[in-house]
């Protein structure tokens, strides 16, 4: 019977092409807009670390003085970072910052260029599950005794060397030779959870160098440096010693116990620092640090802006306006066919038969609207990228949308169709038999 209804529905849709087109368009526009905003929202709401989210923790410290900031800062001072690194070596942890360097290789095919570089510790790669195509990260020893090692991405490997296993080759960063120790396979988590402050939807860096080189090479900071009091930081060593916050700090804690243990270490450390005259705000030591899972971190970084929530809400509102319109169109269409319904009722169609027949027709219109809506959404996302420079990870259609969009479309039209179908299936058979 269902197939028969499909057949009937298809004939009916083709019989009134203009009206059908109008309905499909109305749904398509509603679905297109909803899908677009929903897609962006969904991409923003993604947690790229999955199960690891609960194990990876971003560290925040309340190191500022009284009456300054009223929130935890997302970064910490260099001295705190160095102290924590030494204090708890039994934990996997990393200090990092974003820098930029001039990059060169011994090849005339590759033009020297200025590029973002991630300055980090070796545990970065294991903690954030970075896959290696060739080689591996620099050794832990390098985190202590600096060495000129570099990890590059496969994409950059292609660009610099034309691909292949180039572990051992030399890359020049700011004119200094670095040895390639590892080449990272495709890796670009979105949102960029490990550094959302510098653009949550920027691509991951393609070049990584040891954090231990930072004091030696005095890398330029390509991120925020924030201070809560006036400090004269004329040069790099001033910055390193200052209370300015510019280092991101992560630790891996795999159990509740290790979490508590680490928290205690932090509290102990802050006690110590208070004794030394830092951490002067009147907050307890225990309250002066915070460990955030990735999910919490993304929320603190406000990866999903309030605007986006409102936008999603508005688009659903718009969809409901479309729904009301469709309802009107469906009603018009169905009521034109009451005489046929009268005949069908007379010769043996139950109300359920009629109701189902019309709901199937509505469902097909919904499906068509959903598909056209998807195409519209793809177009809109493309435009957002091309004309408004929206980040590419946000405007790529999420796989789930291929199901969600038609699903919403069908559901919407079915809801809109209930009343017209109900109305038409309550046609009194006798009334319409005389006319025709």
């Amino acid at each position: 019977m269902f197939l028969h209804y499909l057949d009937l529905a298809w004939r009916s849709i083709r019989k009134t092409p203009a009206l059908s087109l109008l309905m499909v368009t109305a749904i398509a526009i509603g679905i297109g807009i909803t899908t677009t905003t929903l897609n962006i929202y969904q991409m923003m709401a993604l947690n790229p670390t999955g199960e690891r989210s609960e194990q990876l923790h971003a560290v925040q410290l309340w190191s500022h003085g009284p009456d300054t900031w009223d929130e935890f800062h997302m970064q910490i001072t260099y001295q705190d970072a160095m102290n924590l690194r030494n204090l708890a070596p039994q934990f996997k942890q990393l200090a990092q910052m974003r820098s930029g360097m001039v990059i060169q290789v011994d090849s005339d095919k590759f033009e020297p260029e200025l590029r973002a570089v991630r300055v980090t510790d070796s545990d970065f790669f294991s903690m954030f599950s970075v896959p290696f195509l060739y080689g591996t990260s620099w050794g832990e020893q390098v985190d202590k005794d600096a060495a000129y090692h570099v990890v590059i991405s496969e994409k950059y490997n292609q660009k610099m060397f034309g691909g292949g296993d180039n572990v051992g080759k030399t890359v020049y960063l700011n004119r200094k030779p670095y040895q390639v120790v590892g080449i990272v396979d495709n890796w670009n988590p979105q949102p960029k959870f490990f550094d959302p402050m510098n653009g949550a939807f920027r691509d991951a860096e393609e070049v990584f160098v040891p954090f231990s080189l930072l004091p030696i090479e005095k890398f330029q900071v390509w991120g925020n440096i924030s201070g809560w009091k006036h400090e004269d930081t004329k040069n790099f060593s001033d910055t390193v010693k200052s209370e300015k916050v510019w280092i991101q700090y992560w630790v891996e804690l795999n159990s509740q116990e290790s979490r508590q243990q680490y928290k205690q270490i932090l509290t102990g450390y802050i006690d110590e620092q208070k004794a030394l005259g830092r951490f002067t705000d009147n907050k307890t030591s225990a309250d002066s640090s915070r460990l955030n899972t990735v999910a919490q971190w993304l929320s603190i970084a406000e990866v999903i802006k309030e605007d986006n929530r409102i936008l999603v809400g508005l688009s659903f509102l718009f969809l409901s306006v479309c729904l009301v319109n469709i309802l009107g169109l469906i009603l018009t269409k169905f009521l034109k066919r009451t005489s046929e319904v009268g005949v069908r009722r007379a010769i043996g169609a139950s109300r359920m038969h009629i109701f189902s027949q019309y709901m199937v027709e509505v469902g097909i219109i919904g499906l068509l609207g959903g598909l056209v809506g998807l195409a519209l959404a793809s177009g809109m996302l493309y435009l957002l990228g091309e004309k408004f420079g929206m980040d590419s990870s946000l405007i790529s259609m999420s796989n789930s949308m291929w199901f969600i969009a038609p699903f919403i479309a069908i559901m919407t039209t079915l809801v809109a169709g209930i009343f017209p179908a109900w109305k038409v299936c309550h046609t009194k058979p006798s009334v319409y038999l005389k006319s025709q």
């Binding site: 009722r345 169609a349 359920m352 038999l433 005389k434 025709q436």
Partner: protein
């Protein structure tokens, strides 16, 4: 077969109450061919609609094929319509988007009949009305008489016990009307009970039994049975005993 006792039907609109049927009594026996005549607005269609369970009635008793239909719900009425009753309308009422075979198939589908049996019945029914070769035509491609024959085929395909026809020849010229009438007589001879509303006294005269509805009541019986004299007495007795 069909037994109405003091059935009445009142149409209520904002301003007026129309008593379309009042204390309507009628018994139709199995195998009869009843022609219903009467002035316009007298309640013929109303009677037929009630007889065909297309419309509820306001008061009285109505038994169809041994079933008291007064208290049936919509689904039960639908099922009886589908299985026991065939309808033929003045306006043919074919579904314009469906071809002939599909039109005839409609009631069978609602019965949940399998594809093969449906096809057999459709073929047989169209064959019987002389349109066996035109399965794929659309109703709009046929003449009025042909359309009415398709409608008859549709009514026949379900092998109903009853055929209810409301002015089946009203839209046809006299030649076509006669053809349709012959078809109905043929069907009646095979055992189907037929109740036919008509304005045409000549056609009415060809039925075994004539009733006249005037002002919502059965008014007058006249029996026309020129061919089968022997049957006449039986019919008369029956009529008188009502």
């Amino acid at each position: 077969m069909l037994k109405m006792n003091k059935v009445s039907k009142v149409f209520k609109t904002e301003l007026v109450e129309t008593h379309a049927l009042r204390d309507f009594n009628l018994t139709v026996n199995e195998g009869e061919f009843v022609a219903v005549t009467g002035p316009s607005g007298s309640g013929k269609t109303t009677f037929l609609n009630i007889a065909g369970l297309l419309e509820p009635f306001s008061q009285g008793e109505f038994e169809l094929d041994g079933i008291d239909v007064a208290n049936l719900n919509d689904n039960q009425r639908t099922q009886i319509r589908n299985e026991k009753i065939g309808f033929i309308f003045q306006g043919f009422n074919l579904i314009p988007d469906l071809n002939l075979a599909e039109n005839v198939e409609v009631p069978l589908r609602y019965r949940g009949m399998g594809r093969k049996e449906r096809q057999q019945r459709v073929n047989a029914a169209l064959e019987q009305v002389g349109l066996g070769s035109r399965h794929k035509h659309l109703p709009s491609q046929l003449s009025g008489g042909q359309q009415q024959r398709v409608a008859i085929a549709r009514a026949l395909a379900g092998e109903p016990r009853f055929l209810l026809a409301d002015e089946p020849t009203g839209n046809l010229d006299s030649l076509m009307a006669r053809q349709v009438m012959e078809l109905l007589e043929d069907i009646n001879r095979k055992g189907t009970t037929i109740i036919m509303v008509t304005h045409d006294p000549e056609l009415a005269r060809r039925a075994q039994r004539n009733i006249q509805i005037v002002d919502g009541q059965v008014c007058d019986f006249t029996m026309y049975q020129p061919q089968q004299e022997s049957n006449k007495d039986v019919q008369l007795e029956e009529a008188l005993s009502e």
